[in-house]
Symmetry: C2
Subunit: 252 residues, 2 copies
DNA sequence: CGCTATATTGACCAGAGTCAAGCTTTGTGG
DNA sequence: CCACAAAGCTTGACTCTGGTCAATATAGCG
């Protein structure tokens, strides 16, 4: 069963990912006076490793830190009044999470680790101290939060206007952007379950299965259990939204 | 047809709303050294009035200002690749908009005025200047943005997990919170169309009509064209989510 | 006062959900 | 290293909620 991690027992950190590809790199570099912020810097006080099923934070936890996913993947979700959950994001290399707790100083969401994951921790009070002396640190943070707001709006569009096929295609496209290796067909490891994908996209796991199967039949992707291979990105892109000629009625 | 407003031609501002009830009040007061920030202060350089159908900003406009709705209502929306639109919010008294443009320095969304509306304008560069000298100004802003992120997440839950009845009930509850007058039954003027409500909630206007009609039949609300009267708030609250006993299967 | 946009209501339909059964992968303990 | 259990995935049959299309009705605007 999932349990809270023991931060003191973290094994030695493996540096899977360059700092300069991290969403927090701008912050880290500013905090370190423009020096290369790799490995150790003024902003990040701690790094640690979590394993699948462990929580990074739980709903109601008091907020002291924000986190960057250095390598791995984490899902975040919120609870409705009736106990239903909505996954609000899957967060991979370089992404920053915990920003939604800043108002109210308690986490409204939970973050659970999907695979062995390496996390950078930034003390928020420490961040505030630093930003008094470093102009631009706060603006960087505002930009990051603004970006998070934008992603939320894109998600509303997906959930409010797109059908199941478009949702899956859009989701797969967003995965494909995270791919580094340029081998063709490029591949991605789905660390989340079909049920998680469905929850995130406002669909059931059955619908996710069926549509992935159809994409595979049509030669757009190839699936081998947890791995997905992107075969025809052009056709996948075409499926993310309706062709511009149909359905312009909904313009405001 | 909607047109961009002429800011120089603004008629004299009527002060409908107390500054201390505004979402930006914390910022304004901090910027004014703790003095009461009403009417004029160091942060807000300009106020103006827009009329129904006018744009506050358009997609692609370069970002210089953020705005607070002093009195009135504004809808914001984004475009999908195929031209479909998703309304991302209806913004009433005291709400702050324009925060999504901060990353990228261009507006991704549009804001269109639904009724004669009084807006406070804050120059973002000016805000940044001020915040260098006033600790806490930036943290206030971070808190406001964090709150916006939370609202986005709640919206994902609504769009991803709730059925049409729950969506409408949740929406009406959120309207009822904006009501000042305590007369019973309390009322709210719907400045947005049924189509707008549907667009926002991921429904069609027909579904919105039908469910509002059913709420009225059931004596939960009363509708007189643009006005809605809240008759039975308890039953409305009960409709916003499923009873806790059913459907706990979806817990993560 | 008439015209247009918006709202309402009904009949019908389809996309995605539900339920169920069987299959595959993963993890655990002997 | 294998056997078994549990969790996750897949597929099919059927259902139902909410969308679509269409025909009025009403309201708001000039």
């Amino acid at each position: 069963m999932p349990k809270r991690y023991d931060r003191t027992a973290s094994p030695p950190t493996l540096e899977f990912m360059m700092c300069k590809d991290c969403g927090m790199y701008g912050l880290c570099r500013l905090a370190s006076n423009g020096e290369d912020a790799n490995v150790s810097n003024a902003l990040v006080k701690r790094r640690f490793v979590l394993r699948r099923g462990e929580y990074l934070y739980r709903s109601g936890d008091s907020f002291h830190e924000i986190y960057a996913v250095r390598h791995g993947s984490i899902k975040t979700y919120i609870f409705g009044d009736d106990g239903r959950t909505q996954i609000t994001g899957f967060h991979g290399n370089g992404e920053i999470i915990g920003l939604d707790a800043l108002d109210g100083m308690h986490f409204a969401s939970e973050a659970i680790v999907l695979e062995t994951t390496n996390v950078c921790e930034v003390s928020f009070p420490h961040f505030q101290d630093l930003s008094r002396n470093i102009p631009g640190l706060q603006s960087q943070m505002l930009a990051i939060m603004s970006h998070t707001i934008l992603r939320g709006q894109q998600m509303m569009l997906l959930l409010g206007k797109k059908n199941a096929t478009e949702r899956l295609a859009t989701y797969l496209m967003s995965l494909s952007r995270h791919i580094k290796n340029k081998s063709s067909p490029s591949s991605y490891k789905l660390t989340m379950s079909r049920r998680d994908i469905g929850n995130y996209l406002g669909l059931t796991q059955e619908t996710v299965c069926r549509i992935l199967a159809r994409f595979q039949e049509d030669g757009i992707i190839k699936i081998e259990s947890k791995y997905i291979y992107f075969v025809d990105m052009d056709r996948l892109t075409a499926l993310t939204s309706q062709s511009r000629t149909e359905h312009i009625a909904d313009c405001i």
